[in-house]
């Protein structure tokens, strides 16, 4: 009995310790961010390419189909109230405020977050980070910060692309397939969607970008330097990012609604 309690206690302490270590790590990364942004922008550009440009295909294809599904589902439900014209509003709100940021963040974790974590984890496993330290090169600004900033810059852009392609997907299904009037479709969107709604999406995408990139970098940097450890770090990146993104999404929505 006492051993169970002790285990529980130790696990809790360990959890809090990890959480605290993550905060300190985040501060370290953030502190080095300005200098990297100003001094070594080339490194950041390369990571924007790795995390952003290479994620475009999955983001665009998924966006198109998510938008299309919204069109189909929205139509079948709104048609019962003869409100098919509002399908654009339904899809635009859904995409811009919720689905765009959230699904992009989840896809980002799967596509880019895992790549970051395993890359950094492998660097650690193959002693590349130690080698840097021996050459008096701090791996935080050289390796971690550019990857973090690349993700932070890429995320809002990916979300915007996702939302736009998603709207086109809805347009394709609703207007071309289900013959909703194209004028009513866009006009209803323009009347109803406000700048505030788009801001909500942008704020979410920035928060998710910071969270997803930071978690990926952290998991990679703290991976156990073995093949198994790197694999586990990759898995944890996806799991923790998904939880963090959905929790943050709930909190931001609750504040902004």
């Amino acid at each position: 009995m006492t051993s169970v309690v002790r285990d529980l206690f130790n696990t809790s302490v360990e959890f809090v310790r990890t959480f605290g270590a993550f905060q300190l790590f985040s501060l370290r990364v953030l502190r080095h961010s300005p200098e990297v942004l100003l001094g070594r922008f080339g490194l950041v550009v390369k990571q924007v390419f790795n995390t952003g440009a290479l994620s475009l295909v999955i983001i665009m294809v998924c966006g198109l189909f998510v938008g299309g599904v919204l069109g189909l589902q929205g139509y079948s439900n709104l048609a019962r109230f003869n409100a098919e014209d509002s399908i654009g509003v339904f899809a635009a709100f859904g995409l811009i405020k919720e689905l765009g940021p959230v699904i992009t963040a989840l896809l980002f974790a799967g596509r880019a977050g895992t790549a970051l974590a395993s890359e950094i984890g492998l660097m650690k496993a193959t002693d590349q980070l130690s080698a840097m330290e021996m050459m008096a090169v701090n791996p935080v600004p050289r390796v971690l910060v550019p990857r973090f900033l690349g993700g932070v810059i890429a995320m809002p852009l990916l979300v915007a692309v996702f939302s736009m392609i998603g709207l086109f997907g809805t347009h394709l299904v609703a207007v071309e397939l289900l013959s909703v009037d194209v004028g009513a479709f866009w006009q209803q969107i323009q009347i109803t969607v406000d700048m505030e709604d788009i801001n909500e999406g942008i704020i979410k995408s920035i928060v998710f970008g910071v969270a997803a990139s930071m978690i990926a970098v952290w998991e990679g940097y703290n991976a156990v330097p073995t093949a198994e450890g790197v694999g586990r770090a990759t898995t944890r990146t996806v799991v923790i990012t998904a939880i963090a993104v959905l929790v943050f999404d709930f909190m931001i929505t609750a504040v902004m609604i």
Partner: protein, 156 residues
């Protein structure tokens, strides 16, 4: 070198696409604000009940948006709602006996102020007040009246 070049081109394309998408979202999905005017003048109108009229609701004449509601407050003395709205200065020949009513676009749509032209020779001026107003028609009241009417008919 070739590698860096293609990375740079790819990144550039990606950022351009992303910024383009943001631009598309901000300009094409909003922009319902079909009222924008360089010069405006302010008017007030008092209503017994404004229903669910909100600030930024359109002010329309003959169905065309010519202004926008800027503020709504409650007058504690007269116990009325005071709605302040602005009208584009190019429409400066609206007779001052025109009446304002709160209308609903569609059966469940949002509410707006509809102006109906009067016949006076003098016009609305900045800071003026609409003399004749008609409150919002509340669906609940309509249903209530309808039920009372149909009830009294049965008794006849």
């Amino acid at each position: 070198m070739q590698q860096t070049r293609s990375v740079e081109i790819g990144t550039g394309l990606f950022v351009l696409l992303g910024v383009g998408a943001l631009f598309f979202l901000t300009t094409q999905t909003t922009g319902g604000d079909d009222f924008s005017a360089d010069e405006i003048y302010t008017m007030e109108a008092r209503f017994e009940n404004i229903g669910s009229l909100r600030t930024r609701a359109p002010v329309a004449m003959s169905g065309v948006t010519i202004g926008r509601v800027t503020s709504i407050r409650f007058d504690p003395v007269t116990l009325e709602a005071v709605v302040q709205f602005v009208i584009d200065s190019q429409f400066d020949q609206i007779p001052d006996d025109s009446d304002a009513s709160i209308l609903t676009s569609g059966i469940l749509g949002s509410q707006y102020i509809g102006l109906r032209a009067g016949g006076s020779d003098t016009y609305f001026e900045d800071g003026g007040e609409v003399m004749f107003t008609q409150s919002a028609i509340l669906l609940e009241n309509l249903i209530g009246k309808f039920l009372v009417n149909s009830g009294s008919k049965d008794e006849d």
